[in-house]
């Protein structure tokens, strides 16, 4: 075999290291979806009537929606009746302290490298852990409470802060938005809720770790973050799942709301199980993420590193409503083996003097297919607004594909849009240069890919950036262009 082929082969044989299953007593609902499923979930969570009503509206909308057809891959058959919509570790009560948590569960989190026990915790990260459908624990709660910051599971928020939830839930992603958002509305099990009061800068990164463990379950978490006037929060999201031969559906909804002068930074490192190299198994990641810059001078920034999932279908978007509001989208998406990613962003410039910046770096290897799909829209009132988009694709090997579908729309003549896209491969001369300086090809590739993705990785908080960098190198280990 040629050297290149050996390396590509190594790459192809790279295993998913988070593929273990945790043996825990689970409370799992019957598979299938109907009105009773929705009632069952709502009842399990002791929800008030208004919440059940809203779920029902979501369910009705779900029945009327069609599967989207516009993406750059054939939508797989999805049997919504074969999924169990609720799975939770059996112990029901919220744990008073970590000692009460099932030790098996704790060991899982340790394997995942999640800083759950506070001693081991990386300084300054408060973590909410969602295990299958239920939020297990939230750390640092007391400290945050003192600042008036609410950081809890969304179920808890429904009980404790109904006025906030009722006011904002579904206000950015309506229950009719798309088939997956409607489904999520009907059956979402848990997720995180954050409220930052006026003028407060959240002193630590808030973080949620999602884990799908049970078989034949879907994960439908719902995240709602509200940053009140002149506040700031940085939020991190990570996720893993066991290796299974069947595809599992992950259909989350994330809503961000930034009031006047507020800033939300939302970072994701998505490492769901991508399936094996023949494309068997893996997570279907169909996620709706949207933020609204409601107030003047507000800012929302999405950063994502997408390395996992069999299919990724997500377009974190921003509604730039307030004048002088700003939106950012930084993305690295890697597809290897048979992975498919159709991802990008939508920037809706509604207010005047709004700004947006999009940096997207796609990396395709193996037989992976990577599509950037983006919309930049300047509305009639978006005077003096600006967008800059840089959208690059890197191909490694000649069996993969890179695709770019930017939609650019302007209805305001004082607005400016700039879009650039390039496609390239890792230059032999670059690798040779590094070889000549004593760096082997594998390391050279890692260096080059990390350099290529640097603009995005730089946006991640420190702890995440290191993890993301490792993940990138691992995913692409041994590939030579």
């Amino acid at each position: 075999m040629e050297k290149d082929d050996i390396m590509l082969d190594q790459l192809a044989n790279k295993e998913y290291e988070f593929g273990f299953v945790t043996a825990i007593d689970m409370d799992i609902s019957e598979t299938g979806l109907n009105e009773d499923t929705v009632r069952f979930i709502s009842a399990k969570k002791n929800e008030p009537q208004w919440m059940l009503d809203w779920r029902m509206k979501g369910y009705q909308a779900f029945l009327q929606q069609e599967m989207p057809e516009w993406q750059n891959f054939k939508m797989p058959e999805m049997d919504f009746q074969a999924i169990s919509y609720y799975a939770a570790p059996k112990q029901q009560a919220k744990y008073a302290s970590l000692d009460e948590v099932d030790p098996e569960l704790l060991r899982t989190f340790e394997k995942l490298g999640i800083p759950m026990s506070e001693q081991k915790q990386l300084a300054g990260v408060a973590v909410d852990v969602v295990f299958d459908s239920v939020s297990v624990t939230t750390t640092y709660k007391k400290h945050l409470n003192e600042l008036g910051i609410i950081f809890c599971s969304i179920s808890e928020a429904v009980r404790e802060h109904p006025e906030l939830v009722q006011k904002y839930l579904g206000s950015v992603v309506p229950h009719t938005d798309n088939v997956f958002a409607s489904l999520n509305t009907a059956v979402f099990s848990d997720g995180s809720f954050v409220y930052i009061p006026k003028g407060v800068r959240c002193p630590m990164e808030l973080s949620t770790y999602f884990r799908i463990n049970a078989e034949n379950t879907g994960q439908f978490e719902r995240t709602l973050i509200i940053a009140d006037e002149d506040s700031y929060v940085s939020y991190l999201e990570g996720c893993t799942a066991p290796m299974r031969d069947e595809n599992q559906l992950h259909a989350a909804v994330v809503e961000l709301i930034a009031m006047k002068g507020a800033e939300i930074k939302y970072s994701t490192v998505q490492n769901w199980y991508p399936g094996d190299k023949e494309g068997k198994g893996g997570i279907f990641n169909f996620v709706t993420k949207r933020g609204a810059c409601r107030g003047a001078h507000s800012k929302i920034s999405w950063t994502q590193v997408e390395t996992g999932s069999a299919i990724t279908w997500k377009y974190p978007s921003i509604l730039l409503q307030g004048d002088y509001s700003a939106g950012e989208f930084y993305s690295v998406a890697v597809t290897n083996h048979m992975q498919i990613a159709d991802t990008g962003t939508k920037m809706h410039h509604i207010g005047a003097h709004t700004k947006s910046r999009i940096i997207s770096k796609g990396i395709s290897a193996g037989k992976g297919q990577n599509s950037y799909r983006g919309l930049v829209q300047m509305g009639p009132r978006a005077a003096y607004s600006r967008n800059f988009t840089q959208c690059d694709s890197l191909l490694i090997g000649d069996l993969c594909g890179a695709h770019t579908f930017p939609y650019i729309e302007s209805k305001n003549n004082t607005a400016t849009i700039e879009h650039e896209a390039t496609t390239s491969k890792i230059g032999e001369d670059q690798v040779f240069y590094l070889n000549q300086r004593g760096i082997d090809s594998e390391q050279a590739i890692a260096l080059i890919v990390n350099g290529y993705a640097k603009d995005v990785l730089n946006q991640l908080p420190m702890e995440f950036a290191v993890e993301a960098q490792k993940l990138l190198s691992l995913t692409l280990e041994g590939s030579v262009g």
Partner: protein, 448 residues
């Protein structure tokens, strides 16, 4: 909602076309190709905004008018006059005049008979003749193309034999005339033999006297090995004209094709589909477009380049200036298939919005399946750079002149590539004339 959409796409014209097809093929002798195309059209009707490729171009208002299919031969004097008027000042060229798709020999000026083969398409006995030049890579799902295939009745077949290089450009002038609103579908075939060379300038002119003209035209071009073709498409039409064009170009190895598209204010609707198939290695392709879109006009350019073989270069620059309530759509697709290694594909689309009522919808699109390629696209939408405007004004140049200079500069990337001087001057003078009128109109509203 579904039914409503269907009604829109099935206007009275739809029924007229169905009847026309059935009447014409009542003896059941339609070719299989026409049958298939007709079925494709009948099932879904005219394209609507629900079709991705027609998302921003709504044909419905243009299809709602009443149209006739009856053609009318204009008076000889009218024609002669029209030909004189259509010629490009200072351009020494041959002329091919077509009236309602029929070749007019007496008004045409052509070179020695050994230099070409020219036929009326309806007289080409083997209808499959031109189908051999058709590529399976293009036009899938395009129902305007299907409609043309089902029902086209006239057009020309022009062949330039191997190794023949014309000494002068050819100006093809197509006239259309009827006594009522006219819906017309023609098809033309242009074949460049091996090592052949030709430069073509195309004009489409309505002699409709205030009646509406809807042209759904298809042209198939084949550029054989080592041949070269330069094609200028000048769309300088009247408000009543609606032009839907489908141009398919198949290039064989080491051939070169240059396309210039000039869309000037006038026609309410211009939709150009340009599909290039690079069916051999080491080809060179240049697509250059200028669209100047005036008040209440819609100009839509859809281009696609299919790279199928290695070592091909394609270079595309489309530039648009929008005035008044003008609306422009640009969609540029570049496909690089797996075998097409060492492809260089460059695409650029820039838009200048000179009015606060104008709109632009752009979608530059890359689909790459080969790794050793250099592909890039850039797209911008915006205004003049205020710093440039200030610099020019600080040298004593008035605002209007400064803006004209900057529009000229904006278009320079394309105009500098026009090698034919009379054509360049003609197009530039048309642009200035249009700009002049438009600035006079919009001055206060935009810059006041």
């Amino acid at each position: 909602m579904d039914n409503k959409m269907k009604k829109l796409s099935k206007s009275p014209l739809y029924q007229q076309l169905v009847d026309a097809y059935n009447q014409r093929n009542s003896d059941g002798n339609a070719t299989q190709e026409r049958e298939q195309a007709f079925t494709a059209f009948v099932e879904k009707g005219f394209p609507s905004n629900r079709d991705e490729d027609w998302k921003f171009t709504n044909l419905a208002p243009f299809l709602a008018d009443e149209y006739s299919f009856d053609l009318q031969q204009p008076a000889a004097a009218v024609l002669e006059n029209a030909v004189q008027h259509a010629r490009i000042p200072g351009l020494e060229s041959y002329v091919l005049v077509l009236v309602n798709g029929k070749i007019n020999g007496s008004l045409s000026i052509l070179p020695d008979a050994s230099c070409f083969k020219l036929k009326q398409l309806s007289e080409v006995s083997d209808l499959n003749y031109f189908n051999t030049y058709k590529s399976e890579h293009v036009g899938a799902g395009n129902r305007m193309l299907a409609l043309n295939t089902a029902l086209f009745n006239e057009g020309y077949l022009l062949e330039v034999p191997d190794s023949v290089i014309w000494d002068k450009p050819l100006h093809i002038i197509q006239f259309f005339a009827g006594e009522q609103n006219l819906f017309i579908q023609n098809r033309n075939v242009l074949v460049m033999g091996r090592f052949a060379g030709l430069e073509v300038i195309e004009s489409v002119i309505s002699l409709q006297n205030g009646h509406k003209l809807f042209v759904n035209n298809v042209t198939q071009v084949r550029v054989a090995e080592q041949a070269s073709l330069i094609q200028y498409q000048i769309q300088h039409n009247q408000a009543e004209d609606r032009l839907v064009n489908f141009l398919e170009v198949v290039q064989e190895k080491i051939s070169r094709y240059d396309h210039f598209s000039f869309n000037l204010p006038g026609a309410e609707l211009i939709r150009n589909n340009l599909e290039i198939v690079l069916n051999g290695s080491a080809t060179e392709t240049h697509l250059m477009g200028l669209y100047l879109v005036g008040d209440h006009q819609l100009t839509d350019n859809h281009t696609a380049i299919h790279h199928l073989f290695p070592n091909c270069d394609s270079n595309e620059i489309y530039k648009g200036v929008l005035l008044g309530k003008g609306k422009a759509v640009f969609n540029g697709k570049v496909f690089v298939e797996r075998p097409a290694q060492k492809t260089n594909a460059f695409q650029q689309n820039n838009n200048l919005l000179l009015s606060d009522k104008a709109q632009v919808f752009a979608k530059p699109q890359l689909e790459i399946f080969a790794d050793d390629v250099k592909c890039s696209h850039g797209c911008t939408v915006g205004q003049f750079d205020p710093e440039s405007l200030f610099y020019l004004r600080s040298r004593g140049i008035g605002e209007d002149s400064a803006r004209k200079l900057l529009v000229e500069a904006f278009m320079f990337d394309v105009t500098q590539r026009i090698t034919n001087e009379p054509v360049k001057e003609y197009v530039q003078s048309l642009i200035y004339e249009k700009m002049e009128n438009s600035f006079a109109d919009t001055n206060t509203s935009v810059y006041g």
